[in-house]
Symmetry: D2
């Protein structure tokens, strides 16, 4: 019998491997279509970007934040981080953080080191930050090492976990005591905000963080990340940084339009809630069938651990993200829901999981 | 009498300051809308990107080129240039080249120096390249100076001028003799290819250049630049470079779709031709009224030199780009046509120019 | 009773904290003095650099290596590594490697990521390299991660451990199979080569490595590191890299003179051997008194684990490097010998250790 | 008859091509020798560096400056400039400035652009700075261009010219008004300070500049540049910058010792004065023979324009730096004096110039 080899990426008909495999929410397309014939000022100096920024300021309950729009997550991360740091400073982040593992060294290419805290679910704690900070300054050779300058965390994390208000407040407090900036990558922020048990609001984010993003791409936009800068020190001359990093879109209004489409009628929040609901349905269904998870995620990304044989059978019909091998016969995969996922797909997957789990099944798609 | 102060940017109702103030050509919107509900592989690994790349390869009459898509001009320029150069090498370019003057030091932020050749219309010659190359290697201290590594030129240039096949061939020849790469920024390539008198084809570009771009943003796309890499040495591992530079769009298919929309039915070429025709109509009209030009541009960007008083009056109704002061009473402005410009707008502008040129006129828009 | 606080750095009369606290070997001073009045070509183009390079080539049993001289370790490391790597590549190194921990992010400031292998003694194995290489290329998202480009190891390591010829050969083999460069930081290479049990020669280094350094600063030079480049691909245009990195000394001959002084009459080797002998005497003496070590180092750096009270008492008279806390009452310190260390100092330290180990002792220096 | 080809570098017995072809002033060697056997704290934390820094503070008539030592000019320039600038800022400098022309793109490799002011003697004016500053901020697209952040000038310039107190004060004033830093590269500062007509003191430098260097290498040190930082904002964490840039010498005391040797008994100033006196003697002698100069330099570097035939003949016996071709039959060369130059050498050169100027002379060295 041939052993199972890791099928990465598992290519099939039903894409559940991420939350960016489909186009935009219809309301985004509507805003884009209806404004298509207008001529406006370029590079983000248009009224749609201004309107979208105002919507975000309102959601944050403050006019004191600056809002900038970017096309993607890697570029907004490096632009903000590079803007915040002195050359000899580094970024405190989880060992599994996207900036550490999945941006092809974009942070380092900008000249900065990631100072990692071991973490399996992507979360780090105020104590982690404090410990790393103290370790630096009690080292007599600290001038020979990278000085911590900013804390970067993701909410939800790359593994779907979320921070509580208490946790985020504690991190924010230690950052302020230590003179560290706090940045939150909110590529999937909507899913965090609408997760069961979440007690953080956008207003909290604006008050606790120096900067954070409100993700669009993974939340139903065609593309776009909104960067919210709360700390005045980080606001100065920021558009120079955007331009230098190749992130100033000529038809900048498109980014404003994406967010206008998403934020209208609370679409951003209702679609996140529905994606979370379907993810919970999926989680419960998988758990009910006796399969464990890498972690207990309350958001739209689920990380079940399945027998390789089951994964192999399901892969005839579904596309998942292969995460990692757990043991000789089991692997962890990622399954995502998003604004466009429907209940039938989730239920169908659970049915197929039953079939695949049956030792007599040869193919699920017959 | 109040003196005229330079009105930059001149903000008014009719936008003619650039070729990216409007949305996308309807056919691009059609491709985006019709595929919106499909789920596909992320990061450009989808069939639309493949189809668009194949179209471009066909237009270049070769299968041997690699095609990658980017969201904008600055990021494609720096990614390609950084990929081609050794750390101690620099880029030979015109003194007015976009990479030297208008990218907020993006090239330098990547570690590279621009070695400039004085040029007023943006063109450089094979002789310029050879001279700079020879000057480097005959300098006994050449190890103390930046080594020329690549030639970067724009066709059309930032001032609308175009290269002839003879000129481009001569530059290509000297580059190959000197071991220099040749890169052409084709942000407005369609306008060059369809200009009166042009004798360069995409197949010539693929044969003479090591890499070049086919611009989308300024040619009717929502956004997007196609990078064509002809030299095998520059192809290796290029997607790592894209990712590291924050230029790998999650919903990468959008870029492919933009080009499918533009390249279908020769839209890219017919719209360029029409924009050029209207630009020539504008040029002739302005010249007939006795006004000179900064240079004789055969493409969609025109650079008339007008009395400040005339510019001031026209600015009540039109938006132009202010280029520079010529003398105490005259300035150069840029007026652009694009895929969406109509003849009425051009003719209306000429009529308004008559009014503005009349010394008795107080306001043109009354 | 006051608790012991970590005494970093422990400042006292007898410096044993490193191997660079004293000036140069008298023979280095002799070469510098005797040539002081000569005028020669600048920037390393002089006959002394040529003579020193030739000596090194002879010691490596090959004329095919290129030899360059640098003032210090950090700058030679980053210059070589940056020269070898493509922008998206990284450096495989031990988690405790100097380039990862003690160069204030110099590697990252040059744009590169260190891909670490957990290691407590600073050594990494061929298997580590292979595992990391395979993990990269079997990851379907490898374009989103940093590609391994070079292996950097130190011999001896930062903790004094040395590689065997078998180990180095295995690493070299896997590097060649994988298309990785192999670089060895030999800041203390003399101590490794002359260590009891070492079976590696300079000729082996030149044959197995793509590049390596022969350290001077920590081996009795006033300053200076010799970089030996064996791989032709790394030789091209290397002086441009040196100049760009600010590492081209105007009076470059000083570097050649340092090495002429050290290499004459095998001083480099005999002084290393004597420093090792005294380190072994120290190691045996400490071990005989019942104290453990962080690791079993055969070279001039020793890492005993001592009660804090003992360290505190010894610190009245000696300077050590504080390495780390081991438990509530014990710490690890570094004690070094070098070309200038004498037996009396070692024996005196052991006597003082006896005193400090006596629970009745209040001060050792009374 | 063979035509004259440009003899770069002209290699012969008597080196006059620069001021760093010989070892150190005997008093530097004395300090190095006499302290050689001492053990001290590494990395510049020793008492010699402290003593040298104190001497420099005294010479600057202020205790408020910070003093750091570097091994060379390129590395001190990039370290200070990189520390002062935000990523999107650039350096205003003369078009012939060393940082623009002779550091192999070290500035750009650190991510910064040099914003050049055309200059033939290396000097720039307060008006130049103001014009460039205003041009930036009146450009509506200024966010698309590099923002001026610091002015870097050399005193004396690369061509030996010096600034007056009035000129330096005017530049300092405009910098403070515009929020620009002012940095002066004083690689040959002693020659400027002791030049006939100079009215600037070290105390003026410390008061007018944000940072400046006092060069050692070209002033009789074995090596070393002292960086004086006057602006508090530039002082913070500066040793991290030094370490990251590979500029923290392990045996850092050597740099302090070099300056102690040079500053004792005013050696720095008296040797500069004598080198200037000999340079004036040379200048007058050459001028008396009817030869023109590229510029009127009052310092130790002279740039006569001589017939190629004369240069060729002199090159049998002397080494000069070839600067550039002036016309078909004439070139400019650089001749330097330094702390070790003697009157006999200057007079001998003038005698040989007479011989070489005689059309019947075939060889001067017969």
């Amino acid at each position: 019998m041939a052993t199972f080899t890791e099928p990465r990426p598992i290519k099939k008909l039903i894409h559940m491997e991420n939350d960016y495999s489909i186009g935009a929410h219809p309301n985004v397309m509507k805003w884009l279509s209806e404004t298509n014939d207008l001529r406006t000022t370029a590079y983000g100096g248009d009224r749609f970007c201004e309107m979208a920024a105002n919507k975000i300021k309102n959601l944050c309950h403050t006019r004191r934040v600056a809002v900038h729009f970017f096309t993607g997550g890697t570029i907004v991360n490096v632009t903000l981080l590079a803007s915040a740091l002195r050359p000899y400073q580094g970024i405190i982040a989880a060992s599994v953080a996207h900036i550490q593992t999945h941006e092809t060294g974009a942070i380092e290419a900008h000249g900065y080191k990631v100072l990692t805290v071991p973490s399996s679910d992507g979360k780090i704690s105020a104590e982690d930050v404090r410990r790393l900070f103290d370790a630096h300054y009690t080292d007599p050779d600290h001038e020979h090492t990278v000085q911590p300058g900013i804390v970067s965390l993701a909410n939800p994390t790359e593994y779907g976990a979320i921070y509580s208000l208490e946790e985020l407040t504690a991190i924010s407090d230690v950052c302020r005591k230590c003179g560290l900036y706090l940045y939150v990558d909110g590529a999937r922020l909507g899913y965090a905000l609408m997760a069961e048990g979440n007690d953080i609001t956008l207003a909290d984010m604006a008050s606790l963080c120096d900067a954070f993003t409100i993700g669009g791409t993974k939340q139903g936009a065609l593309f776009g990340e909104a960067l919210v800068i709360a700390n005045d020190k980080l606001k100065k001359d920021f558009r120079y940084m955007i331009k230098q990093n190749g992130a100033m879109l000529a038809k900048g209004r498109l980014l404003g339009l994406n967010f206008l489409g998403l934020l209208e009628d609370d679409i951003y929040f209702t679609t996140s809630q529905e994606a979370n609901r379907l993810a919970m349905r999926l989680k419960e269904g998988i758990a009910a069938r006796g399969y464990p998870f890498l972690l207990d995620s309350p958001t739209n990304q689920q990380f079940p651990i399945l027998p390789d044989r089951v994964i192999s059978l399901l892969s005839e019909k579904y596309v998942f993200s292969y995460i990692k091998r757990i043991d000789a016969a089991h692997s962890c995969i990622r399954i995502c829901t998003d604004w466009a996922t429907v209940e039938e797909t989730v239920d169908g997957l659970l049915t197929d999981l039953d079939k695949a789990g049956d030792p007599l099944t040869q193919r699920i798609s017959s």
